[in-house]
Structure formats: structure tokens, C-alpha cells
Amino acid sequence: MFLTTRSTLNSLQRMQAIMVKELRQLSRDKPTFAMIVMIPLIQLLLFGFAINTNVRDLSVALVDQSHSEIARALVADLTATQVVHFVKTYQTPDQASKAITRGEVRAALVIPRDIAQRIGDERPLAQWLIDGSDTMVGSALLGLRNMPLTTLNSRGFATNFSTTKPTFEMSLFYNPQRVAAINIVPGLVGVILTMTMVMFTSAALVRERERGNLELLITTPVKPMELMIGKIMPYVFVGFIQLAIILGLGNIIFDVPINGRIDHLFFAVLVFISASLTLGMLISTVAQTQLQAMQLTVFILIPSILLSGFMFPYEGMPAAAQWIAESLPATHFIRMIRGIVLRGATLMDLWPDLLWLAGFTVIGLIVAAKRFKKRLD
């Protein structure tokens, strides 16, 4: 018992030593220090502008209160556009909007009991509840307002429905003004953290090797896991500084709201930072030179920007790309932060992504520590 406490304390002391050392070195490394602040700042301004693309296969839910032939025909017409893909059905609009908050679906179609009556009155046939936080999703669904009603017409349900009247009533949640920055900024947190966290730690061990410090370090009693944890800890603080810059300025410049609970936001960011730092550590055990470390970082960064849902909605991507996206921490994080910041989701709603990131961190650290041999060969 005494021995275990003693060795735990020793271990903590060694980790603390590494951590303090890293912080000191970081504070004296002016270019890196500047990057910590400049990267989020510049990216934030660059990406503040919207990027538009075609969207297909959005996951949506159906709330059919009419249970009519007309409703089925309308759904067939919507499916034919290939913009949406009905994956769930709910009994009430309330259930559907909860599913939107959880991020399970991007929108829900509510078909009222009196749809036949509405056709006659030339009122909108049904209502879309839309998660407007991703502006691309929002615009794609808004485009449905004037879609052709081929099936409805061919079955003679809506022959006299004027083509100039909107087919649907639209309710955009979370981002009623459809400001792109609102969607971009939280995603940007994911991209910038991936970029900086992976970049700083991917060179961590290689740098010690190149400067010759490693030969001394590995002759000391320090354990690989202590080295890993001690080295990534300081960057957790760096990550939070960046988070504050992005969300703070995002709020001031682009009016990005923070709807969710701050403690949930911090916890999600903490888990993601840990996962990204771990990823960097893994690279550091593979790379032989700082240049290689940088190349591997870029190799991770590019799919994290393109496939994580930051630039293009996840649903629109081919299955293979989705598979790759699922293996990137950024994808899981962007899903979480959009949920929390824009839709006010809680960690309970987002537990699969949270668990994935936590699992990645633990397994990644173990693998990195195992890969790191206290040897020169």
C-alpha cells in the first residue's frame, strides 16, 4: 500500500516535471506562441464566409398525422428529389423536434390531418421543421418549397394546385436568419484544434530526438506514459485559449450564439483536445524527423477539413468518405459542438461521439506509450 502511493506520487512528480518543462519551453518559443493566437484568428476571418454546395440524401424524419394516400404520394415526390432520405417516423412533431436536437435527423416533415382540405384551399400542404444551424442543409430544404408534385398530379390529387404557391411551410430552428458563420464557427473550433493540437504534439518526441535531449531523457527513470501525459497536458490549456478566441470573436463578429450549457461545451472540448493531442503523440512515435511529423499532420488535417462535416454535410458524402470521416476525431467533435453550441443539445444526447473520443484517447495513449521504447534503436 505504502509502495503504491509512493510510486504514484513519484509518477505524478515526474509528469509534473515534464509538464512544467514543456510550458517553459513553449513560453520561450515565440513563433509557436504567436501561432497559437494567429491560427484561430486568421482562419476565423477566412472561413467566416459561406461555402455553398449541392446537398443530397439528408436524413429526415416523417410525422404523418393524416395517414392518407396523399401523404404517401407527397413522400414519394420528396424521395424522388433525392435531397432527403426518410430514416425515422414519429407520432408527434414534438418527438421529431427532439430528434433534431439530438442530431439524429436534420429535419422533419409534419403532414397535418387536413392535407386534402389544404390542397383545396391552396394552402401549404405540410410543414418542414429544419435544423438551420447548417446553412447548406437549410438552403437545400428551402429549395424543396417549389418542387414538382409529379406523383400527386399523376394520381389526380393536386391537379388544380397552383405551381406558384409554396408546397411547404418552413420553420427553421436555431439559425432563423440562415447566417453561414453560425454553422462555420463552431466547426472551425474542430478544424483549428485539429490543426494546432496535432501539429504541436506530432513533433514533440521527434524534436527531443533531433535536439539530442531524448538520449538523456530515456536514461532517467521517466516512464513512457508519464512522458506522453506530461507532454500533452500543457497543450490542453493552449486548446482552451484557442476555444475562447474562436467562440469569443465568433460571438462578437459573427453573432454566433452559445445556446448549450457551457460546462458541457468545455467537457466536449476537453475530450476532443485530448483525442487530438493523442493523435499527435501517435504521429510523434512514427515520424523520424520534424518534416515527416509535419507531413503526417497535413495528411490528417486535410480529411479533417473536407470530410468532418465542416465544409460539406456528412450525409452528402459517399459511403467510403463517411467511413473515413468516422475515423477522424474532428468528425465526432464537430457533430458534438454544433449540437451543443447551436441546438442546445446536452452530452447525454451526444454520448456516442463522446464515448468514441474518450475511447480514442485512452487507446491512443496506450498505443503511443507502447510504441515509444526507451531505447535508441
Binding site: 516535471a17 519551453q25 520561450r28 535536439r211
Partner: protein
């Protein structure tokens, strides 16, 4: 109780690909002595030390250090050795005292003991005036002192120093060696590598390495006594020309000019080198002084490593 033998290697071999950096080296290094590795560049001194400290795995052969089998028990050895690498391996961007504090924490010295040890070391290695200077801005000699201060902070039983004085002027080198003798008196075993003869001569024991092989070992005096050649100093003019002609003879191991003399090593096969020289090179030896002198360590070194070259 410490075993009387600090380090023992048997047929130690290390290959890098098909290049053999350490070739079948067997050593016995007694505890509480200063033991030197003397050898030219690339002779395998650093590789030997890395094998002994468990930083490299041997290709074959066995190593025991402080009664522990290396590489299996390397982790338990870590607390008991101090290692000073050939290249400065402390942090350039940390100050002197920050480096010392870092090492103190890594070796789990408790706060008060650590503080006290750091002050002792700063004082002993004359770094107290420079404790807040960044290590990267120190002179070569100051850096070596800092490195030694860090390597000895946790009072290791065994100190492994890889060319500790390569960037140090002669006076600082002398001071540095005084520190080593102090440590040795306190019971530390020291393994040190060097290219300098004067340093090698100060060691209690010595191994001469070349091309990864151990060419000779023993105390400096013993090595000089056992030299397989005799040393002759020849005076006179045109020494360079003389050297060319002598060196062509297979009985002449080496010839090197030293000021007004030519220092010539003649194989022990020749019983009376003076007479042999006068007979074999009768013309050349006219009007020259020929004296047999006591061998120096450099002669031993030249003799050992010369063999390797032939």
C-alpha cells in the same frame, strides 16, 4: 554491499546492419575506480557506453552492471546511474537552475532535499553566478559542468561520461578531472571516454578500442610496461626524410616527429634497437643521437591501433 566489479561484459557485440560497431568486447571494470575508453573517432566508444546503459540492445554477448543484467533490468539501473552524453543533451531553452530542477524532479528528489542538492551542485560546479542563464548561452566548459552537475545530482553509484571534455580548454579540463577524482573518492565508479592521452593516463584502468575491437586493456602503467615495442628517440636533421625511410621497414611500428626528435617504435622482435638501427640504416644514422626512452601511453595507443591498420 556493492559488488567489487561494477561492469562486466562478455563477448559484447553490436551490429548496425552488416557493420559491426562493437566487436566481441569483454571488459571487467572494478567498482569505485575511474575507467577510460581510449580510441579514435568511430572506434565504438559511444556505442559501448549505450550498450552498458541499456540504450541499445546488444546483438550478442552479456552485460552486467552493478549486479544487474542489462538490458533486462535496465529500468532498475536507471536510478543508480548518471549518464552524460557526448552531445549536450540538456535543454538549451531552459536556464541552468531550471535544468537542474527538472532533473531533480525526474529523479524524485523531494522538494527540500532537491533544493539543497541543487544549491550544492551550483556551488560545486561554479555555476551559482549563472544559475539564471539559459543553458544554450553557456560556454563549452560551463555546459560540461552543468551536464556533470545534472548527471551527479541524484548521487549515482555509476557515472558514464561520453567524451566529457571534448569542448573544454586544458585548464578547465584539469578542474573537471579534479571533480571526477572527488567523486571517485566518494565511492562513485566512473566510466569515461576520451581521445586525450593525458586524460587516459589519469584513469585507474583503461581499454583501448579501435574498429569496435578491444586492442588492449589494463592500468596505464601496465600497458606501457607491456608495450610490444621499444621506443627510440632519434635526433638530427632531415627528420621527415628519415621518417619516410624508416617507416618502410616492417620492424618499425611507427615514427612520429616531435620537435627536434623522431619518436620511433621498434618491434620487440629486435633485441637491441640502437644497434639494429645503426646496422640497418648505417648511412642515415651518421651524426644522429639515438636514445631509448620510456614508453608513453601515446606509444601504446599508436602501437595498438597501428596493428589494426595493417
Amino acid at each position: 554491499m556493492l559488488p567489487d566489479i561494477a561492469i562486466e561484459t562478455k563477448n559484447l557485440t553490436r551490429r548496425f546492419g552488416d557493420f559491426t560497431a562493437v566487436d566481441n568486447v569483454s571488459l571487467i571494470i572494478p567498482a569505485k575506480t575511474i575507467y577510460g575508453f581510449l580510441g579514435p573517432n568511430g572506434s565504438g566508444k559511444s556505442t559501448c557506453m549505450r550498450l552498458i546503459t541499456g540504450l541499445l540492445l546488444p546483438t550478442s554477448g552479456s552485460i552486467r552492471v552493478l549486479g544487474m543484467n542489462i538490458p533486462e533490468q535496465t529500468e532498475s539501473l536507471r536510478l543508480r546511474i548518471g549518464y552524460m552524453t557526448q552531445k549536450f543533451s540538456l535543454y538549451d531553452d531552459l536556464s541552468v537552475i531550471e535544468n537542474l530542477r527538472f532533473i531533480a524532479q525526474i529523479y524524485n528528489l523531494d522538494f527540500h532535499l532537491g533544493k539543497q542538492r541543487i544549491n550544492e551542485q551550483l556551488h560545486a560546479y561554479e555555476l551559482d553566478q549563472r544559475s539564471t542563464r539559459l543553458a544554450g548561452s553557456l560556454s563549452g566548459g560551463q555546459r560540461q559542468r552543468l551536464a556533470l552537475a545534472c548527471a551527479t545530482l541524484h548521487k549515482p553509484e555509476l557515472l558514464v561520461l561520453d567524451e566529457p571534455t571534448s569542448a573544454v580548454d586544458p585548464e578547465n579540463r584539469r578542474d573537471f578531472w579534479e571533480k571526477l577524482f572527488d567523486l571517485c573518492d566518494q565511492g562513485t565508479t566512473i566510466l569515461v571516454s576520451t581521445h586525450y592521452m593525458d586524460e587516459a593516463e589519469r584513469c585507474h584502468g583503461l581499454a583501448i578500442l579501435e574498429g569496435g575491437k578491444k586492442r588492449a586493456d589494463g592500468s596505464p602503467n601496465q600497458l606501457m610496461k607491456d608495450l610490444g615495442a621499444q621506443v627510440v628517440e632519434i635526433g638530427g636533421d632531415n627528420l621527415r626524410q628519415l621518417k619516410q625511410q624508416l617507416i618502410a621497414d616492417t620492424n618499425v611500428v611507427s615514427a612520429a616527429q616531435q620537435g627536434t626528435h623522431l619518436r620511433v617504435l621498434i618491434d620487440n622482435r629486435i633485441e637491441h634497437p640502437q644497434q639494429w638501427l645503426q646496422q640497418t640504416f648505417a648511412e642515415l644514422m651518421q651524426n644522429r643521437s639515438i636514445n631509448i626512452v620510456r614508453p608513453s601511453l601515446e606509444d601504446v595507443f599508436v602501437h595498438c591501433t597501428g596493428e589494426g591498420r595493417q
